[in-house]
Amino acid sequence: MADMGSGEIDSTGQLHEPWVFLTMLDQMSTNEVNIGFIYSVLDLLARRYRLNDAVVVLRDEALGTQAFRLGQKSLMNDSPANAATVPGVFCEPDVVPYVVRDVVRNVCQLALTLHLARHSADHDPLTNIANRRHFDTALRNAAVQSARYGWAFTLVLIDLDGFKAVNDRLGHAVGDDMLRSFGWALRRSVRSGDTTARMGGDEFAIILANAEGTEVLAFTERLRALLVSLPELDFSVGTATSPGDSTDPAELYRIADARLYEKKGIVLR
C-alpha cells in the first residue's frame, strides 16, 4: 500500500488527509461489500497506524452487538473490546484519531448492513436456504451453461407429504420446526456447488450440479436417512435433467412438477 500521508486532524476536528475515505470508497465502489470487507478495513487501519490490535464493535437490529477483530480473531480476554457493549473502534495502541475511527465504524456498519440485506433478499428466513428469487436466477444460469457447454444438472422438486395435516393438527409452530428440520437436512444432503431453495409453503427445489440418475438417487437416500428421526416427515420428488429433458428453465420446471404430481397421484390440468 502506498504511503497515505499523515492523516492528522486539526483543532477543528477536520481530517486533512482523506486516505481512509478514498481507500474505502474505492473498495466499496468496485466490490459487493460483505463482512469480509470489515476485516480488510481493520487490516488497512492496522497497517496505517501500526496497530497491534483493532476491534470494531457494531450494533445491528437483527444480530445485536457484533465485534470484528483484526485478523479474524475471536475476542479472547486480552482484546481491547472484550467488555465493549457500545459501538466503536478500539485500537491498541490508542493512536487513531476519533474522526478516522468514526469513518471506519460507519463504513463497517454499512458493510454489515449490505451483507445482511443481500442475504435477506436471497434467503428464506425460516430455513436459511435460498428463496425462490435466488433459485430462479441460479436455475437460469445453470440452464444457460447447460445449453452452451452441455453441462448436466438435475432439477429436483420436493413436496412434503401431508404437511398441511401436520400443520392443522399440531399447529404452525410445529410445522415451522418441521420446515426448519427439513431445510437443515436438505443442506446436509447436497454437495458443495448445489443449490437448495424453499420455493414457498412446503415446496423445495434443488439444483444438483453434474448429476443424473444415480447421483439423484444417492441424494434422496441421504435426505431420507437424515430424516429418519422424523417419521411423520415424508416427501415426494420430481426431477428433470438438463440438457436431456430440456435446456429451458421453465420447461424443466414444468417437467419436474408434472413428475412430482404424478408420483403423488395428482393429475395436473
Partner: protein, 222 residues
Amino acid sequence: MTATIEEDFELELRSLPGVVNVGISHLESGEVDAVVLSIRNQDPESVRESAVQVASLYFPDASVILEEAGAPAAVRTGYMARISLTVAEFNEHDGISEVHLTYAGRTGVGRAGSGPLIGGAEATLAALRDLGYVIPFYLMGVTKVDTVIGCSVIVAFRSLSADDDRMGIARAEGDLVSSAKATLDALNRYVTMDPDRQREELGAGGGPDDRGDEAQPPYEYE
C-alpha cells in the same frame, strides 16, 4: 464479489443468539481449522450445539470453541466515578480564572482570562480536556439571567464540526462557580464516563447521546 462460503458461514454463526464475535483460524492449506465464538449472556451448551450444526454444513472438520466475552462495560468501576469541581478561583489581580476538576484520582487544571464568567467556562473546558476528554465544542457565549430564585449563569457551546449547540445553566455562589457548573451541565453528555472510554465512544461516531443512560448523574459538586 458475492459473499464467499466462509463469509456466509460467519454470518450464520453470528446470527446465533448470544454470539458477539466469531474467530476463524485456518490451516496452512487454507482450510478452516477451528472457529471460536465469543458469547455473552447465553447458555454455552445450546450455542455450541447450534454452532456445531452450522459448522457441519460448511466445514464439518472444523472444531468449535466457545469463550465468554467479558463483563459488560457498564459494571466496570470506571463508570461509577464522577467528576468533581474541586477548585474554582478567580484572581482579580491578573484576571485569570482557574478551575480544577478531579476524576478517579486524577486532576485536570484549566486556566483562562476574560473574567469569571467567560473565563470560568473556558477554564472548565480546559480542565476537562486536561483530564483527557474530547470536547468538540467551543464557547459561544455566557450570560447571567435574573430569576425569582436568584441569578443564574447560562453558557452556550457550539460544535466544532456539526450544527449542534449545547447550553447549560447553574446557580451557585459567585459567577465563576456558576459558570463552571453551567459548563459541566452543558457538556454533561460528554463527561459521563472515563475519558479513555469516552474517546473510544466518540470514535464510534454515535456519541454519548446515543447511549440512553442519562439516568446516571454525570458529575457532582463539592
